[in-house]
Amino acid sequence: MLDLICENGDVQTQDGLWADSPLAIRGLTVTYGQKPAVFSVDMTVAAGQMTAIIGPNGAGKSTLLKAALGIIPSVSGRVKVFGADLAQQRARIAYVPQRASVDWDFPTRVIDVVLMGLYREVGLMARIRGQHRARAQACLERVGMQDFANRQIGQLSGGQQQRVFLARALAQAADLYLLDEPFAGVDAATEKAIISVLKSLREAGKTVVVVHHDLATVRDYFDNVFLINTRKIAEGPVETTFTADTLQEAYGGRLAATQVDQLQAVVG
């Protein structure tokens, strides 16, 4: 571990967390062309808690998540999942991509999408059996979509699409859940359903990381925040880290007046 020199030079304390953390990132850098989207970011996700990744638009929130999962290539950096290499821990990670990242006119039904979450378990060639279907159905029930199993996915509303994506992640029975903007453009009922599922995951000892954009709900929903604006701004418990200072630093001059008011109300 001597090759790990973190941004803040705080090698020793980080090393301890490195081994325990469900998701530990060191020096991760991603560039599009010559411009870094994420620059030398360290992140240590606390186990069994809910963490929000927040920052302004284009700050690299989603990019950080995708690069950590190897979905987009990174220039440098290392990622450990539960202390081991990513490749060995894929089965313990459930990823929920942004809703808009797929074509919802794809010819498939809701239940088939949820069954995709079981591919690692079923195998790519074996038959899907009744027990698998039952599990997928149970996951749909957890997000309140049990009546939609046989619907074509194109007929769903935005909120319903998001719930189906969450059900697919639940089907994996993972230990670490990574969600990219699950609350973007969904109705209030869906937001409630999703957050209660996420909280139940935390109660079951799972770790949840959410790319989040609504500063007003951070305090209600999350234990920890990770503020990013290309570089890491701050990381830690909501009470101590989600402050006017860190937000100002992360958002810079990019907050509109209304948002500043909103912030003041949130941070107090």
């Binding site: 999962l69 190897g70 979905i71 991509p97 794809f106 010819p107 995709m116 790519l124 994996q172 990574l178």
Partner: protein
Amino acid sequence: MVLLDALLLQLGYNATLVSLGAALLGAAAGITGTFLFLRKRALVSDAVSHATLPGVCVAFLLMAAFGGDGRNLAGLLLGSALSAWAGLCCLNWLTQRTRLAEDAAIGAVLSVFFGFGVVLLTVIQTLGVGRQAGLEGFLLGSTAGMLFSDALVIAAGGAGALVVILFARRALTLVAFDPDYATAQGLPVARIDMLMMGLVMAVTVVGLKIVGLILIVALLIIPAVTARFWTERSERVVLLAGVFGAVAAYFGAALSASAPNLPTGPLIVLVSFALFALSLMFAPGRGVLAAVVRQRRFQRRVHLRQGLLALAQGQPIYEALTLRLLRRSGLARADGVATESGKARAAKALRDEARWEVLRRDHAHGPAAALYDGLRAIETVLTADQIAEIDRKIGGPKEVRT
């Protein structure tokens, strides 16, 4: 009735061989092409198929130079596969390593490889080496003088592609729907994409002889697009595309065998287009006609509802369509005055609106209230008891019941 004979495989050994070979090729191309279509990379196959031409020519030259038969099909196909692979690698390099978008890269690779191939073809013709006659057949497909061994090559290639797909279908579907999620789950997405392109290449190469390299793209894409009209499930799209591809190829090949000098490839493409056009118009659900009917039916419901509410509130009806619909349903007379049954229905419509009003103001009915769209009958969201409860709040019927 030569065509009928051709369809019934009565035109002799060669025509029979061609029709059966074409059907198998059509099935393989339709099924393989579906994954390409679902992955939204349909046009890549056009670049791949055009990139086969230089390989065919070089293979011919090499085989002729070493004193062999320049027209040996297996040799030509091997050459075409190698150059298709080179074209695919160029394409991948251009899209991944440069800022060129995939459509531009496809255009570049397609035209350069094809141009190079045409130059080689001209050179071969001027050199007069070997028995070059028939090499142009690879452009648009030719089935004259097809040998049993040729048919075997095609059959083996098509069957091989189908077997691979049988095992890889779930991976291919998952990657086509959500490549990011597939990566996160640990699937080797790049390799699965490569496998898909390899299958496309195999189908293209074995299809060169029958359909020709210019039109093979049609056999890969049109059946998939056609099948999509009929079903909302990917596994059924795959199977249907296989059926459509087989039918089109079989009919097309039989047509071309029914008269001398009819090119096989273009006829197969025209038959598959006919299937596509029929599906586009008449498919239930996604077809054009079905959409028009649905739209009209919906419009009718809107107009009837608005008309009934206007009647109930004693407002004049200006829209000709509304009036016509009311009249045809026996709800109003030609002058716009409600009939007896019209009055009853109008009163009910107004009452339902009032019930919805109550429902929507009551937060306890949130999910049910969200279903309000002005058209939905309230009986579909509430039980008779709940409606009676609402009616108690509204008070007794104000309208005259008939």
